[in-house]
Subunit: 193 residues, 2 copies
């Protein structure tokens, strides 16, 4: 039976959801598919490439472009909100996507970076500053969501995690921080003008 | 021979530096110290607690308070800059400290949160908003540094990582994003006034 690339990604995503990123290895995925590890390397040259494909699978839900261009502020909030939701919908999603983004292996994260850079340019930034601003917003989103997801997973596992400010509305908290960044981008541009 | 808590933390930190966070287990630390795993549990009730102690060990360099209170902007930049440097000085430092912060197991990160919250209060924020602003700055710092460190470690390992904007001055890039956040905090307070 022919092994399709898509089957490998689906098997890896299922393993991620069931066991977490620490147990996601080429060997384990091969065993799940009842093929030899060598068969996977025909589709993916490295584990990093496979993780990048899993990252893009996790981010599928966010790739649909918005109906219109919209105001740059709304685009920042919309894109980052969808990114956070997608990360939360899979076990260790934030950690896996952050690693794939750092390795330059996720096409969707490259697209997100481009969309946010365009929004920052539309806000009035030069293209060099716009990419830095877009990256800043991405690091915040990944850092916030990794923290939120760690806490959720430990709570679910019954671990003794100290309860703090997290007990209420995380979405409002996420949006507050994002709002500070968007205000900072607007202030930066006023200073330039 | 009596096993001191400090010896356990030192052995765990050495293992982290040599092999990374994935290989840091209670069993492995016990083997390194030539004691039974049970002997470690006398000092640390869980692996999470041990990781929290290692996080505090990594962050030792940043705990010295600044000479004077200073302007709130300078305190944000100083604290976050020292935090980033400390994280970069140990293998997987950003990932380990982020996990310990999420689990509420690092006393030093709790102190950093308090110091940044105080700075945000001094900037004119209410205490509730000040803690959210402080957390936002921490998530950015952890997200940025985890990304930077992943890339550095892969580059060192000779992995085929796509080269992007990262090839030049990461400190200037880190400071640019932090500047956006600080500007956002200042803008937020003007809006409140």
């Amino acid at each position: 039976m022919q092994l399709h690339k898509r089957d490998v990604v689906e098997a890896a995503t299922s393993l991620l959801d069931d066991y977490g990123i620490a147990d996601l290895s080429m060997r384990r995925v091969a065993r799940e598919l009842a093929v030899s590890p060598g068969a996977l390397y025909w589709h993916f040259a490295s584990k990093q490439q496979l993780l990048g494909a899993v990252a893009d699978r996790i981010l599928e839900a966010i790739t649909a472009p918005a109906a219109g261009p919209g105001h740059w502020r709304d685009r920042f909030v919309g894109i980052c909100g969808r990114l956070r939701e997608a990360l939360l919908s899979h076990t260790d999603g934030a950690e896996l996507v952050a690693a794939s983004f750092a390795a330059g292996q996720s096409q969707t994260m490259a697209d997100v970076l481009t969309q946010l850079s365009t929004a920052a340019t539309d806000a009035g930034m030069t293209s060099g500053h716009a990419e830095l601003a877009a990256r800043t917003v991405i690091y915040y989103t990944l850092g916030f969501t990794a923290n939120e997801q760690s806490r959720m997973q430990w709570d679910a596992a019954g671990a003794d995690v100290a309860h703090t400010v997290w007990t209420d509305n995380p979405t409002a908290r996420f949006d507050f921080g994002l709002g500070l960044l968007v205000d900072g981008i607007a202030a930066h541009n006023r200073a330039d003008a």
